[in-house]
Symmetry: C2
């Protein structure tokens, strides 16, 4: 199945023959431009088959009235006929036995014609071929030289694949990348994603020998779970960088009306990307800056970084940026300082950043670079050049490349050449020779930062521990089913506690009682001091109606409290249906955290961890991950929060039992994965005690999916 898909996408992206259904003689028409672009891109003329029943010849190529007339095999079919004719020509393509069709035509889901789009997929399924689109710009492949799109020019050749959900950006960014000297292996416009989507292409490029980096502009993912699985596997081999637009509340609306994508919440995307090792770029500028770094430079073998500069200012900027990226600038050891002294004037600096001064020319740059390359204590080098009146930037670029060639050391080297027209050639030469070069020191540092980040992601992905948890699924199901049968979409506190207990989550024992006698018995079983709480589906905020009484120390107090609570409810919530009175243990206060789960429409169960009390609302101190969670992911989400600082022992306090939180997160993850019926879980607060003392869910709420039809 996977191999089938790979081969079908291969036909689509690296075709040996192309038919253009809707080819036109009118140069204004897309049907003309696609044929013209194919020819221009160097695709063999004899393998281009224009299809148009009313033309004999287009751009010197013989025209066919139907694809069925084409005497040869057709790898890729490009469709540009009006929307209403697409089903007819698709049927013909199916009969011809093609494997891949790219539908450029628009006028489907994006304008509300959902049914028309579904029809296309049905036809594809009937014949077993795959569809790219509809509503796309087309495909550009610089490997074979195929421009099956209405982008006028192919991108520069390179090894970065670019997948885009926006057609308008496809053309604009091909131009932009050409201008910036960024080479692409492929450009794929995925449009409405009726059949093939970004995941199929991420999968394909993961296997494609010509692609080193996969980049994408996305407005939304539709198959959340599959996205994580595929992207995670691919990220272990190649970096994936995605610009996911549509964070703003307002944008989410814009996307809905724009491409019909149901945008998941941004927290879910953020979590999913992290878990899949995907690098998230804030704008297309970073997207391609980073892609260039990952396509060109070596991944660093260690953390020690050295900055080499001819201008103090540039060194200072790079140092500021390095601190932001968490890049470790190595202190230069005395022996290396001595060696470096040979390659700078007396007023140069051997401090890191190493400043060989504006007097530095070819020899000093080369000499200093060699020292840094040959020193095994150094893993990454950031080389900066500010254009001066007395040096030729091309000499400096040569010096850097010669140093690398002559030492023959595989190290991470990134560069920034600051200047105008004069430095551009030198900068391009460096990039071409695998030293990605940028216009500003901050960009060079950001490039190095992303190399470190990807390296870390890859290491994380390679060790994910999934644990088997013993749970009583049957018991949990019984409780959930009963609620659903009763038409309820939220569990009562004792039901929720029951489900949690069945899943091994430490939860405050709550005994539902219906008389004073039962309450006394319950209290004796649990042991004083206890708490009494009213149990009623209608009462959410118990404190407000006097529905909770704390710290009851003995039988007398209990009897009094029981009466009190009943009177309170009678007065303040006379219409509430009373299911009884809960008796529970009065527990010591631990550190408050919150644990929860919300089922995201795209990615499924999104597990949450965060600070409790005032912090969660004041600074939104929460972290998310998509279930099922690995042990490492559970730890990571805790470490991501400020709560971690408190939990590990703040200002001399004892560390708390973080393992108990991890365990609870894993169990919540399992519970949410096992029961699609559960829409939300909220443990607030969860008390964590000191190390080895565990933790306990004080209050747990469980909501059920309204849509599910049990």
């Amino acid at each position: 199945m996977m191999n089938d898909l790979y081969n079908q996408v291969l036909k689509l992206l690296r075709p040996s023959s192309v038919a253009v259904i809707g080819a036109s003689r009118d140069p204004e028409k897309i049907g003309h431009q696609v044929v013209r672009n194919l020819i221009r891109s160097g695709f063999p003329r004899e393998k281009i088959y224009p299809i148009n029943p009313r033309a004999y010849e287009i751009l010197g190529l013989r025209c066919y009235s139907s694809i069925l007339e084409v005497p040869d095999k057709v790898d890729l079919v490009v469709i540009v006929v009006p929307a209403r004719i697409v089903p007819k020509v698709l049927e013909e393509a199916g009969k011809k036995g093609v494997e891949a069709v790219a539908i450029i035509t628009s006028g489907f889901k994006e304008v509300g014609n959902v049914e028309a789009e579904l029809q296309l997929v049905r036809i594809a399924r009937k014949y077993g071929f795959r569809i790219l689109g509809p509503n796309i710009v087309g495909i550009c492949d610089t490997i074979r030289g195929v421009n099956a799109s209405f982008c006028q020019d192919l991108p520069r050749p390179g090894n970065i694949a670019f997948i885009t959900q926006s057609g308008a950006l496809a053309i604009a960014l091909v131009g932009w990348t050409r201008l910036k000297g960024i080479g692409l292996s492929d450009l794929v416009s995925i449009g409405n994603k009726a059949d093939l989507n970004e995941i199929d292409f991420i999968d394909f490029f993961g296997r494609d020998p010509y692609t080193r980096v996969i980049s994408a502009y996305l407005e939304g993912v539709t198959e959340g779970r599959r996205f994580i699985e595929v992207a995670r596997e691919v990220s272990k081999k190649k970096p994936i960088i995605i610009l996911k637009a549509g964070k703003a509340e307002r944008t989410i609306g814009a996307i809905r009306s724009h491409t019909g994508t149901l945008a998941g919440s941004d927290a879910a995307y953020d979590a999913a990307f992290k878990q899949a090792g995907v690098l998230r770029a804030p704008t297309f500028i970073e997207l391609f800056d980073w892609a260039l770094a990952l396509a060109k430079a070596e991944l660093p073998r260690g953390e020690n970084t050295v900055i080499l500069t001819n201008g103090g200012g540039a060194g200072v900027m790079a140092t500021d940026a390095a601190e932001e990226w968490g890049i470790k600038l190595m202190d230069i050891p005395p022996d290396l300082k001595e060696k470096l002294r040979k390659h700078m004037p007396p007023f140069g600096s051997t401090f890191n950043p190493i400043d060989i001064t504006g007097m530095a020319g070819r020899e000093w740059y080369k000499g200093a670079m060699k020292e840094l390359l040959l020193d095994p204590r150094i893993h990454s080098i950031v080389v900066l050049y500010c254009h001066t009146a007395i040096t030729d930037p091309n000499d400096i670029a040569d010096a850097i490349l010669e140093a690398i060639r002559e030492t023959d050391v595989q190290k991470t080297v990134v560069a920034s050449f600051i200047g105008g027209e004069e430095v551009m050639e030198a900068c391009e030469k460096l990039t071409k020779n695998n030293v990605p070069c940028y216009e500003s020191p901050e960009k060079a540092i950001s490039a190095l930062g992303i190399l470190y980040k990807y390296k870390k992601h890859r290491e994380k992905l390679s060790k994910q521990t999934m644990v088997h948890l013993n749970v009583d699924k049957k018991q949990a199901y019984k409780i959930i089913k009963r609620a659903l049968n009763e038409g309820r979409y939220s569990l009562t506190p004792s039901e929720a506690a029951g489900v949690a207990s069945a899943y091994g989550i430490p939860v405050l024992e709550k005994i539902l009682t219906n008389s004073k006698e039962e309450a006394v018995k319950a209290a004796e079983k649990i042991g004083y001091p206890v708490v009494l709480e009213i149990e009623s589906p209608q009462i959410i905020h118990k404190t407000d109606v006097g529905g909770i009484i704390l710290n009851i120390k003995n039988k007398d107090e209990l009897l009094k409290a029981y009466d009190e609570i009943v009177v309170n409810i009678r007065n303040k919530a006379p219409d509430a249906e009373i299911r009884g009175v809960i008796v529970r243990k009065m527990v010591e206060k631990g550190k408050e955290v919150i644990i929860g789960m919300h089922r995201d429409p795209i990615f499924g169960p999104l597990v949450m961890f965060g600070s409790g009390g005032i912090l969660v609302e004041l600074i939104k101190d929460v972290a998310f991950r998509v279930a099922p969670l690995s042990v490492e992911e559970a730890y990571d989400m805790i470490k991501e929060t400020k709560a971690y600082t408190i939990l590990k022992g703040f200002r001399g306090e004892k560390p708390t039992d973080i393992d108990s939180i991890v365990d609870t997160l894993l169990r919540i993850s399992k519970l949410a994965s096992d029961f699609e019926e559960i829409s939300d879980i909220d443990i607030n607060p969860f008390f964590v005690y000191s190390e080895n003392k565990g933790g306990i869910a004080i209050d747990i709420k469980i909501l059920l999916e309204r849509k599910s039809d049990h």
Copy 2:
């Protein structure tokens, strides 16, 4: 005095005649290049005077052996002779009666020759002229066409002044701005700032009719107070954008060794920039992106912004960025929607961002732009264009400019044209015609964001209320002087409370007692319940040694507590010098905040406000401002913190008495301004009560300057 300075800087930057002392025939020498560059830049040949005792002619110009021989008046003297000869030629310049000297020569403070540099200033003072430098690249003035530097080319002409402390960056960035099409009025390299510094030039450009925006690269400011005063006045008229490098701890070291600047702490810079209305750019890319916007576009008249695009993706990116910048996207009213419908296909969107689709050409862009320009409800327009296969970007640029011309409406318009080489001409044309155009939607939004930010800064600067506070300065001085006379650099708690009280800061009354009898009397005066605290210069953490006992309700308890505290100290801190036992009122707990002051070496008293308790350490929830504070600044610093959310009434709680914090901040500001002897003040905690109930300093520490010689 101010006018003198203005005229002297005018001579320096806009000279009518220039002498180059150290002019050389050797093209490799800077002394040659400066003369060559002056000629090339179009400076009148007859007004260039090369000075070189061993040459008769340089580049066809008559050479003089000394400046004293020049028959004409000399406005600007440029010095390029070796460091040791500089004093001699400076003396000659002084005798000649010049007003401004630019010393390109290096080898002074930056390599440790502090005394040599001071000598230059002494000579300047003797003759009354001003020095720029030493250790500079020179000056470029595009207004008169003066290139008195060793930058090969003049920048493009424009109305952005650029001041740089890094010479290497000067040359590199002249090249970069040329490449990016950014025009500068002047480039000033300030080097070691022996005499004239950035403040003098900010002042000058503030008055200069050719400059609309002042930009600077700085590694440090030396005259902190003057910087704020001058920059604040200039910011009311023109925007100042500064890239202040050296935030990283490591960089601060690099700067020290690099230009000898003592870098102030970054918090002080941040505060000073805010108070002076200075916009702080993170990198030189934003610096010039923003400068371009401020030099070209109108300041917005209101907050309603509309995005117009031909590509959904670009609109989504812009919307995301707008949310980050806090830019308000207006909901399009139905009547305007109807009008806009005429300028787009049926599947276009009248939602904001308005998407006139990839089909939009000249007419639709023009039509839609006109609707937006003419609608008085709209204040700012962001117009986006993604390059398509069917439109000419120059047409779109023309359409935008025609719409502006024909409607003749003064509105803020910024643009982004996304694409390659094809869109560059259109983008430049827009920028030239005062519609700053950028390569990405995020940059266009950032440009608009900075226009809003500057507008807000300017509004703030125009209303700063300074209040007169009644304080007992004499009493405070008495206490401080006593401590200094005793050789102490910290005040005891009761001394600190005394100083605070003298300055009207509500402080918990603390009575120092030396016997049980005195303690009883004090308690009766204050009223029970009270707290006992040990008073000892050696005991910092009283709780640790049992040196504090809370909630003493009557005389019996007091007597018992007194004994207890004495025993505790005897056991746990036997060597501490005991000054007595403090009796103070037991007060109700308010919301905890902290208020403080640290004297910054550059900017002086830096007043701090922040969250108390765990928040300050966990999330560094603090804000700083340089004293003296205005009422508005005091409010602003509170609003900047998360604490504000709590103070104004969080989760249904009553609002607290924020005015009492403002009052205390103002009094701390006055205290710090009145007494240079105070290095640090720390009120931790300060309790704030509910509205109109005030607040109180529970604990106050005051430290004195170690260096001061009283």
